[in-house]
């Protein structure tokens, strides 16, 4: 009968706690507002961070990387020294097989090269890729053609320049240029090309050095006809990556293709840097906001305790144990906390929805040259992921 938690019976003590919370209405409202604003800030910032992860990820995938890339085994390690040793000859056969895997949207070849590009007056170095024009346009849905047109199969020798490269050279669509590079055999070779369009991807370093040209032109330029360097696979959704990767591994194994695989996750270095940075920022902000809110509640609770010493004395005289008194105040703090938290989350989600509906301009994430217009804000699950400590 008189055992363990003789604090006070549940219903009356909860009633007492709730009524005590609203005893000083103005103070309670201010405390609730503190908590609600804190929670709102966390929800909004978390939503923004999550949005940024998504947009940096998708922009990396849909401007450069695709979801999965295939190379000749050993290319990732030594390909930069001896690129011609790691060429894929049977591209058409492999493509046909991969296209049969569910959720694969497109498969496209690439042939990387580098060299000098010249207007006759200005010359600079570049990194380029010979690509399949239509497929590449399909993949690069996040890059924006800021001037001119996209590549076309029907426009040989028409190339696309990154915005930074085009500015550096001072060229516009229609201008003539010369590409200078070394062939497979090590000889110099040049190709006269015309600027067809200028793109902006959002990643400045990429836009400053990169050009794209139709694959057949580059194969000819490099004296490397029929061969490609990498195969880029575009999926319906990024979430399909793991499943397709597994099926692809089986397929490569079954057909004894001597190929290695890299997913966007392996390749998107900037995505991981941004993610690391903002996850830490989010944690620090959460910590600071939590501290502020905790101190706010502590202040309110302390004031409540000091105001009510006589009342505490009374209920202790009636036989409430010390722990019962502590329980009462903890319950009051709990009622405040739950109310403030719920209020803040509701407010945060409402604001996030509003912001998602209208969009607000945000500064570009590090390494980017395109400002964000956050639209699709986050799902509750993403907060769990953000708050999880890295293992």
């Amino acid at each position: 009968m008189d055992n363990s938690s003789r604090g006070s019976s549940m219903p009356l003590s909860l009633k007492l706690a709730i009524r005590n919370v609203f005893r000083n209405r103005r103070r309670t409202l201010i405390t609730l507002a503190t908590m609600a604003f804190g929670a709102t800030a966390i929800v909004l910032f978390g939503g923004f961070v999550h949005f940024m992860f998504l947009s940096v990820r998708e922009s990396a995938i849909h401007s450069q990387l695709g979801h999965i890339q295939l190379y000749k085994t050993g290319f990732s390690e030594k390909g930069s020294i001896a690129p011609f040793d790691y060429m894929i000859a049977n591209y058409a056969e492999i493509r046909a097989l991969i296209m049969q895997i569910p959720h694969v949207q497109d498969v496209m070849p690439r042939l990387g090269f580098s060299g000098l590009i010249s207007t006759g007056e200005t010359t600079t170095s570049f990194v380029g890729a010979g690509v399949h024009p239509e497929s590449e346009a399909h993949l690069a849905s996040f890059t924006q053609i800021v001037d001119g047109q996209d590549l076309s199969r029907h426009a040989p020798r028409g190339i696309l320049l990154g915005l930074g490269l085009a500015r550096g050279l001072g060229v516009r669509p229609g201008d003539e240029l010369t590409l200078l590079t070394t062939t497979r055999a090590g000889a110099f070779n040049a190709l006269a090309v015309q600027v067809r369009g200028i793109w902006q991807s959002g990643e400045k370093a990429y836009d400053d050095r990169m050009l794209k040209a139709p694959l057949p032109d580059i194969q000819r330029l490099l004296d490397n006809e029929g061969e490609v360097q990498s195969i880029v696979i575009l999926l319906e959704k990024t979430e399909h990556t793991a499943a397709v990767k597994a099926q692809l591994a089986t397929l490569l194994h079954e057909h004894h293709f001597d190929l290695e695989m890299r997913t966007w996750d392996d390749l998107a270095i900037r995505y991981h840097q941004v993610r690391q940075l903002f996850t830490n920022m989010f944690r620090v902000m959460t910590l600071i906001v939590s501290m502020v809110v905790t101190l706010g509640i502590a202040n309110t609770m302390l004031m409540a305790i000091f105001e009510r010493t006589r009342e505490i004395g009374t209920i202790m005289a009636l036989g409430t144990r010390r722990r019962g008194v502590i329980t009462l105040f903890v319950m009051e703090g709990g009622v405040l906390g739950v109310l403030g938290g719920v209020l803040g989350i509701v407010l945060g989600i409402a604001l996030a929805k509003l912001i998602s509906a209208y969009g607000i301009p945000m500064p570009p994430p590090p390494g980017s040259n395109v400002a964000l217009w956050p639209r699709s804000w986050s799902s509750p699950r993403s907060y769990g992921r953000l708050l999880r400590w890295p293992s």
């Binding site: 009968m1 008189d2 019976s9 006589r310 209920i315 009636l318 036989g319 144990r321």
Partner: protein
């Protein structure tokens, strides 16, 4: 240890109790060798001027404080041997308190204030009828769902009395229960305590310095400068 054989027959035994407080560097002796025995069903008044030690004595009997020396025995239990938790339980089960300033919990209704001590006892089922009986006994059934601020001083003190007796304690302690009431209401309150004492055999100790009220008691002990003038 003057009356070891008699402890069971008295509701309260106070044996040669001393209580001193230290204020800065001076020691104040609030009680100086007080002994008192209260029989079950007794209606006892502790009289004395303010500062004489009435409240200190009641606090010791009420297990709100511990003596510097001597023993307080409530219903056969030696209070000094209990830890704070056991003292809280003893208060909840055996004692009822009535305060000079009523001390109702302001956010609870009269009904809920009376219910509160029962909740500390975890006897959930019989709450309702007991609370209603207690309120009826103090004549406040109609005001059960009013908050203390909506009640007069006399009504508040009657709620406090209902709260003190709802657990059917062995002993009710009232520290100047009429001091904040006008004399007519004060006499009504004492009459009510007296009636409950008679009807229910409830042992009651109250302190007062009002001569008109102390005459209602079966026995009056007077305390001056921490010592009993009349007692035992």
């Amino acid at each position: 240890m003057a009356h070891p054989l008699h402890t069971g027959t008295y509701t309260v035994m106070v044996q040669d109790v001393q209580k001193s407080y230290t204020l800065h560097t001076t020691t104040v002796r609030a009680l100086d060798g007080v002994s008192l025995a209260v029989a079950p069903g007794e209606f006892l008044a502790i009289a004395g001027p303010s500062g004489s030690g009435k409240t200190t004595l009641l606090n010791l009997i009420g297990c709100l404080d511990t003596p510097s020396a001597g023993e307080v025995i409530i219903d056969g239990v030696c209070v000094s041997q209990l830890n704070p938790r056991q003292r809280a339980d003893l208060r909840a089960r055996k004692l009822g308190f009535i305060f000079q300033t009523f001390n109702l919990i302001p956010v609870l209704t009269a009904y809920e204030n009376v219910e509160y001590p029962l909740c500390l006892q975890k006897r959930q089922r019989t709450h309702r009828s007991r609370v209603e009986t207690a309120l009826a006994q103090v004549g406040l059934s109609e005001r059960a769902h009013h908050r203390p601020t909506e009640l007069s001083g006399g009504q508040q003190q009657r709620v406090a009395i209902a709260r003190a007796l709802v657990t059917e304690p062995a002993l009710v302690l009232a520290d100047e229960p009429t001091a904040n009431l006008d004399s007519k209401t004060g006499q009504d309150i004492i009459a009510l305590l007296q009636r409950l004492n008679r009807e229910r055999g409830m042992t009651c100790i109250f302190s007062t310095h009002d001569p008109r009220i102390m005459h209602a008691a079966d026995r009056v002990v007077e305390i001056i400068d921490g010592q009993l003038v009349k007692g035992l």
